[in-house]
Structure formats: C-alpha cells, structure tokens
C-alpha cells in the first residue's frame, strides 16, 4: 500500500535566469533554462550532478544532456502555463515513491528575444530551432535525414569493437520474422499479408536494399499506422476487472544523450541503467525473465539492448537470437508479436511492446489461424524495454503474472 504523498517533498530553492524581462541584447530559451538551473543549484549549494529528476515542458532530455547528467526520472509534461505546477506534483510523487531524491523543475522561454531572433532560439515547437546545438553541429548539415542515418554508426562501431558481423545482426531479423509468421496480424506474417511477407533468411537480409551502410532495409523496422492503449489500476482494484492483472514488478528509466553527437559509447545505451533499476525494484534479475520484449527499431537496437538488459555478455547481443533460443519454442522467447521489424512500428513502438507483453503474461496472446502454431508462451515474467530518440533514452519494465 503506497503511503500518502502529502508532506513527502518540499521546495528547497528557487531562482531565475541571469536576466529577465526585455533582454535587449537577446538570448535563447536554452540559455534561460541553463542559467536558471545553474543559479538555483548555486542557491541551494548543490551540484547539478546531484539532480536525479528533470521536469520541464518538452526539453528535459536536452537539458540533461546539456548539463552532462543522467537522471533517473524524466518528465516533459507540456500542457501550457500550468505545466510547472503539475511538474511539482509529479516530482513529489516520484520522490514519495523513492525513485529520486532531488528534482529540478525548469522553465526557459525567449518570448521577447524570439521576435528579434526571427523565431530562432525558441527551443522547439514543430519546426525545430535552428540554433539548437544539434541543428548546427549534428546530422542536418551533413544530410542525415532520419534514424537510419544515425543508428548505422552504432552498428559500425559494434562490429569494430567486438568483431560482430552483419550476419549476426541479420539473424535477429530472421528470428523476428519467425514470430511474425505466428501472428496473423503482423504486416509481414505471410505472402497473403504482404508481397514481401513470410520467412526470410540471413542472405535475404544481406541482399536487401542498402539504405545506410551497414544497415540494409531488412535491418530496419516497418513504418506503419498503429494505435494502442493499456489500462493501469491500483493493486487493490486490480482483481475487480474481467481481465487478469499483469503486475508492474519493476520500472526504471534513464538517458545517455539527446543527439548522437553526445553518445559516449556507441555500443551501449542507458538500458543498462534503466533495467538495473527495474530489476532492483522487482527483486529479480535477467535470469528470472521468461520472455523479453526488446525495442527493435533496427537490428542493432535490439542486439545492443539485449546486452544492456543483462541477457547476454557485452559484445554478444545478437547471440540471444542464435541457435533458436529466441525463436518460437526456444528457451527465451523474444519479440513474440513479430517485432517492429515484422509486426508493426508506427514511429513510437513502445505501446506495441506493452500490449504484446500484457497478452503473453495474461494468457491472451492469440493462438494463430489456419492450423498455424500459436505464439502464446508459458512465460510468467517479462522484461520490456523501450528505446527512444537516437539510442538516447530508455525505459524498462519488469512485468509478472500469476495466472
């Protein structure tokens, strides 16, 4: 039973940017944020390094990157002027839950200067801000057009550092396609669902169209339309529904960067930190997991994440899929819906991971059609990892069931 969060947190300092009002020499929203954070830390006598939760409208990940910190709680609630009251509420809840100790709620908005700057330096809003560091020095000036342009660099580095091969990663796509074959709703289930559907081989992956070397098109997820939702209930009411509960045994989140320009180790993500937090909360470890749902925007995302989740040794991520281990009937089923690679991926795949994990653990994963072997497993525990941005941000859940 969670405790009442009342009185569980307090505001301990408050500060402003160096200048406020009509700043005639001009400024940017990002500078205003950073000045305010520096000043409030100075006032409280703490280092920004001690902040483990960042709350702001939209830009919390960028603020963390800029400060060179790696918070355990990242909130970007952006609902207009009242957002900051809500951030305080959320921060209190996170603190009450024992997830973080020190949160910063930050605001920076160049309402006056943005006119002089012709809309630049505003930190966002759809069209982006050409003065953001990544806009000046990231991929844009060099023709990088989307996630594949960036993720490919991680695969090159992994192969260099660990001697892994394109074949190793291609096998992830092959095994994931096997699961799609058990899911009649998977885009690539069969030739009936898509002319390019049905089983594939490692050679098929290697011979498919090269998009950004070393990523072939079959190393890359689908781009689909998709909607999904889950309901979360309190524990005490969790058994009052017609459906079975799947318990949130553990949860964790972290980030390592916003733009790949600041990715320290191209063969590692914050899924190590976020999964460690989730395992710790659950009192379980990777060896206790009976299945895994691993974000597979690219084969390299899945391969590296397998390492970060502790399911393989460093440098050996693709081995999780080797020898039929992650295949239907294997000892650790992985991406049982057919993954972002072969089931569906609308851009933000996290919901699809959740829906499949719920179905598997509640015993409602469909059993296939026309005599096809079903994809339902016997798993009663799952690690579910989402990766966002450019291998930037991760969230990991440990889910369990007692059915």
């Amino acid at each position: 039973m969670p405790s009442n969060p009342s009185m569980s947190a307090a505001i301990v300092a408050a500060a402003e940017s160096d200048k406020i009002g009509y700043i005639e020499e001009g400024t940017t929203a990002l500078n205003l944020h950073i000045e305010a954070i520096r000043n409030v830390c100075a006032e409280a006598g703490v280092s920004p390094s001690e902040i483990d939760g960042v709350f702001s409208t939209n830009n919390s990940n960028l603020l963390a990157e800029y400060l060179g910190i790696h918070p355990k709680y990242i909130d970007t609630t952006a609902v207009g002027g009242c957002s900051f009251q809500m951030h305080v509420h959320h921060a209190m809840a996170a603190i009450n839950a024992g997830i973080i100790d020190l949160a910063v709620v930050s605001h920076g908005e160049a309402g006056y200067s943005s006119r002089k700057n012709q809309g630049k330096g505003t930190l966002g809003g759809g069209g982006g801000d050409p003065w953001l560091p990544a806009a000046q020095f990231g991929g844009g000036p060099y023709g990088a057009w989307g996630p594949p342009s960036y993720y490919a660099h991680a695969l090159t580095r992994h192969m260099h550092q660990y001697g892994s091969t394109k074949e190793d990663f291609a096998n992830i796509a092959v095994v994931t396609r096997e699961w799609a074959g058990l899911n009649p709703r998977a885009v690539m289930h069969s030739k009936e669902t898509n002319p390019r559907g049905g089983p594939i081989t490692v050679e098929d992956v290697l011979e498919s169209r090269m998009i950004v070397w070393p990523l072939n098109i079959l190393d890359i997820c689908l781009v689909t339309d998709h909607g999904g939702a889950v309901l979360i209930s309190s524990a005490e009411k969790a058994r009052s529904f017609k459906t079975s509960p799947v318990w949130i045994a553990g949860a964790g989140e972290s980030q390592s960067h916003a733009d790949m320009l600041e990715m320290d180790d191209f063969t590692a993500t914050s899924a190590h930190a976020s999964s460690q937090a989730a395992y710790r909360m659950a009192g379980m470890g990777p060896g206790d997991m009976e299945m895994a749902m691993i974000y597979d925007s690219f084969t390299v995302t899945a391969g590296i994440t397998a390492e970060m989740l502790g399911l393989t040794a460093r440098g050996e991520g693709p081995s999780l899929w080797a020898d039929g281990n992650a295949s239907p009937g294997g000892k650790l089923p992985v991406n049982t819906n057919g993954g972002g690679l072969s089931f569906s991926h609308s851009g933000m795949y996290g919901m699809m991971l959740l829906v499949e994990a719920y179905r598997q653990l509640s015993g409602t994963a469909e059993d296939g059609v026309h005599g096809i072997e079903g994809k339902q497993t016997n798993a009663q525990s799952a690690v579910v990892n989402g990766t966002g941005g450019l291998l930037s941000v991760t969230g990991t859940l440990v889910l369990t069931s007692d059915v």
Partner: protein
C-alpha cells in the same frame, strides 16, 4: 564560388559565433573551461564536465580520428547528388567528438574506410558568412 546546395547551419550569435568566425578563417575554434581545463563540444555556456561558467575559446589543432562511420546510400536535397557518401563521428585530438561528412574516402567501398584513421579539418564555404566543417582522411 560554386553554389553550395546543401543545408546551411544557422550560427547562434549568443554561444557558437566564435566557432563560425574561426571557420571563416579556416581555423577550428573550440570552447574550453578554464576551471577544469577541459575542452568540450558542442559549445555551451556551462562546462558539461564541472559546471563552471568560465569558458574560453582557443584554436585547436584541427586533427582527429574516425570514431565510427556510416555510408549514406539515400539522401535528400543537395546531398542526394553525393550518394553514396560517408558520415562520421570524429574524436578530436583535444577531446570530445564532432559529427561530419568525410572527405578523401571511397564510400563505394565502405569497408575501405577505417575506424581510427587520422583526419584533418577543412571548411567549405556555404554562404557569405558560413563555412561548414568537413574532415579529410590523411592516412
């Protein structure tokens, strides 16, 4: 000057201008914190290592090494004319890392490009005031 048909960065006059001023003169200017004496990239008003606001600019060597790379077989706008071309993250001799498109490599043969290869910076004029940094393999 030949027309530069690719995306041109927008220098930010509040933080990054010294870099762009240096680029115009063919120099790589980097920010360095005078409290902890470490360089950083991208430019900031706060040192990401020690959180000091004491930042100075200095002229760097313009030398580095390929940390990792990829070959862009698909691109848009002016870059579409250059495919396939190689992009890379460069480990700067002074520390930290920049992104770039590589010059002096054969992108048709991706495995001919080597992680760890030595590179030097050069600048291509994109507009009257903006010179875009590129790195050339010199090994």
């Amino acid at each position: 000057m030949a027309e530069y048909n690719k995306s041109i960065p927008s220098p930010d006059p509040y933080v990054t201008q010294p870099f762009w001023d240096g680029a115009k003169e063919g120099k790589l200017m980097l920010p360095r914190c005078t409290t902890c004496n470490r360089a950083h990239w991208y430019p900031r008003i706060l040192c990401p290592h020690c959180h000091s606001s004491n930042i100075e600019w200095f002229e760097a060597s313009g030398e580095g090494f390929i940390h990792t790379y990829a070959v862009q077989n698909r691109a848009f706008g002016g870059w579409a004319d250059e495919t396939p071309y190689a992009t890379a993250y460069i480990d700067l001799k002074e520390g930290d890392r920049m992104f770039t498109a590589l010059r002096g490599v054969n992108a048709e043969d991706p495995t001919s490009i080597k992680i760890g290869a030595r590179v030097k910076i050069e600048f291509e004029q994109a507009s009257e005031d903006v010179f875009v940094p590129y790195w050339r393999v010199v090994d």
